[in-house]
Amino acid sequence: AAPVVVSSKIDTEGAVLGNIIALVLEHAGIPLTRRLQLGPTKIVRTALLAGEIDIYPEYTGNAGFFFSMADDPLWKNAGEAYAKARDLDAANALVWLAPAPADNTWGIAVRGDVAAREKLATLEDFARWAKQADDVKLAASAEFVESAAALPAFQDAYGFTLSGDQLLVLSGGDTAATIKAAAEGTSGVNAAMVYGTDGAIAALDLKVMADTKHVQPVYQPAPVIRKAVLDAYPQIAALLAPAFAGLTLPTLQQLNAQVQLEGLDARSVAEGYLKAQGLLG
């Protein structure tokens, strides 16, 4: 049979998760081609739909955007979100395999020293600070600023607004860039958009504001595979399930940190994780 084309998104976590998938399949003797870190979501998703790639890790919450129903509250519940994504994509002959428990949701983090000074722990604190002080400056990607589910949702729920001057918008920006901007205070930035699983948050002394009102959808990573390929290799579902099940938030953060902070190769990080889980024999 034709080799399975394994892909992933271009970011760090994509690299780690993609390598986990590839290593597991490889270990099971399934022939495969790696096209990891192919590009941003759009590219990878298009490629999957076009059949140019066969499997890649996607976040459950993103299904809301694929099917233009991001406003639906069901995305905020992990189980419902996964089930909904799986059901919706069945029409595209795609199968969502079992997701990881880690939730890579959007959040806002503040510089440690600022958080201590202003006594900030939750997004409610952040809203209070944002309302009274005008030195707040948040670095974020355009997507975070624009997408109704992200910053606007936080602003609605917690009752604050950030003016244009208080935002540093990086087109296509990844959290690594926003985190670094906040950590180093470049251009006056002191707060950053972050993902739940980011590895650098703690190391760079940033404090994540707790989302006490659960504003965000759940973004659990899960392998998405073309049905035709899964039919050809039905064992893939069972092979990947334990590998993803072990990916708790701290574990995934730690894996990401190994890549981002220590600069280790995503493949060896994935290998280390799988070995530790006893999945590579």
């Binding site: 271009i10 760090t12 096209r35 590009g39 985190i179 760079l204 190769d265």
Partner: protein
């Protein structure tokens, strides 16, 4: 034959007089940068920006002294225009400057890295780069002005050998750049090859199509204007936009003709990248071919025809050999340009050295960005030097 009054050379350029200003200037700039900028930068981890260490702090009095001594040697050589082999010596010293500064940075990285633990990163600082660039420019300038081919090549080869030996020795392994490379040496090789493949394919496309267009424009001068106007517009479209624009139509095309997919043509990946690179190469190639052919003296062509050469023989024996310098120059410029542009291919999933740049951007890991960028630059410089050398072989020695 009446000789037209040649441009008078500036008096101080006359052979054997005055001192050589350029090396002195470069040395002065290098010295200033060393005194003001950091030689290496020590960062607490891979993501954060670090604090610069001066040459003195990084390399100790011995290393700093040795580097300064080399600068003094170059300056002294520059001030002695009468010396035989002066250019070769300056070239060798410049190469020595490059190798030695890299070696010192490597040592500094080992010491600092060992001192401060696993996460610490030691990167190359502005002072180092200025020094390295100074060496490179001196080397290039010397090679260009030196008339003898052997003396041109000697310092270049010696420097390349020195750098290669330094790399192979593992002395640099603690530099952040080397550590980035070390964790992805397998992927690095793949992407490098990928980059070359993309560039090569794009170049081939540009050469075939652009060459044909250039020839056509030479044969039919009245069509040249409109053809170049259209090519010019293609060239004007921003690269990012062109790459992005090609995704749509190609995806549609492969949807309509699934057979294309068997050939590896797809909306993302190499196909649009190669196409875009080819399109960008079109104008320079066509223009170069046209200019090269047009510059062949009409008298030589008429003489060839009058001798009874067939059209094919005229092309082979007269047009191509006489246009060759321009053609090689075109090849060189196009190749260098495409090597740079191919970096963007990573954005649309075609791989190449751009992968590291965009990964590095995503992780804000400056040294990963540098790994990709420097590789692309080194590739471009190598291609440039190799094709210059080739051009030198094809232009005959004495009279030029």
């Amino acid at each position: 034959m009446r000789s037209p009054a040649g441009r008078q050379p500036a008096p101080f350029l006359r052979a054997g007089s005055g001192l050589d200003g350029l090396p002195l200037l470069i040395c002065a700039i290098a010295l200033a940068a060393l005194l003001l900028g950091g030689f290496v930068v020590v960062a607490p981890n891979r993501l954060q920006s670090g604090t610069p260490l001066s040459l003195w702090q990084a390399a100790g009095p011995g290393g700093a002294g040795a580097l300064l001594a080399l600068l003094v040697v170059i300056a002294t050589l520059a001030a002695r225009p009468a010396l035989r082999f002066r250019r070769v010596l300056i070239g060798l010293a410049a190469g020595g400057l490059m190798v030695m500064s890299l070696a010192l940075a490597g040592s500094a990285a080992s010491e600092q890295g060992l001192a401060a633990g696993r996460l610490t990163r030691v990167s190359l600082g502005a002072g180092f780069w200025t020094l390295f660039m100074a060496g490179l420019l001196l080397l290039a300038d010397g090679a260009e002005r030196e008339p003898s081919r052997a003396n041109k090549a000697l310092p270049l080869l010696a420097t390349l050998l020195g750098l290669a030996a330094l790399l192979a020795s593992g002395h640099l392994s603690q530099l952040s750049l080397a550590r980035e490379y070390a964790v992805r040496h397998q992927a690095y090789l793949d992407e490098l090859v990928r980059h070359l493949q993309l560039t090569g394919a794009g170049l081939a496309l540009a050469l075939v199509a652009g060459g044909a267009i250039g020839l056509l424009a030479y044969r039919r001068p009245q069509r040249a204007g409109p053809v170049f106007a259209v090519l010019n517009i293609v060239q004007t479209i921003p690269s990012l936009a062109l790459f992005a624009l090609l995704i749509g139509p190609l995806t549609m095309l492969t949807a309509l003709l699934p057979a294309l997919r068997q050939l590896g043509i797809a909306g993302i990946g190499p196909a649009p990248a190669i196409l875009a690179l080819g399109l960008y190469g079109l104008l320079p190639v066509a223009r170069g071919v046209h200019a090269g052919l047009s510059a062949v003296p009409g008298a030589a062509v008429e003489a060839a025809r009058g001798m009874g050469m067939t059209e094919g023989q005229i092309v082979r024996h007269t047009l191509v050999p006489l246009a060759l310098p321009t053609l090689l120059q075109t090849l060189r410029l196009t190749l260098v340009q495409l090597i740079g542009l191919a970096v963007l291919a990573a954005l649309i999933g075609a791989g190449g050295l751009g992968t590291f740049i965009f990964q590095g951007l995503g992780q804000t890991a400056a040294d990963l960005v540098l790994l990709g960028a420097l590789s692309a630059i080194a590739l471009a410089l190598l291609a440039d030097t190799a094709l210059r050398g080739l051009a030198l072989l094809f232009t005959r020695g004495p009279a030029r």
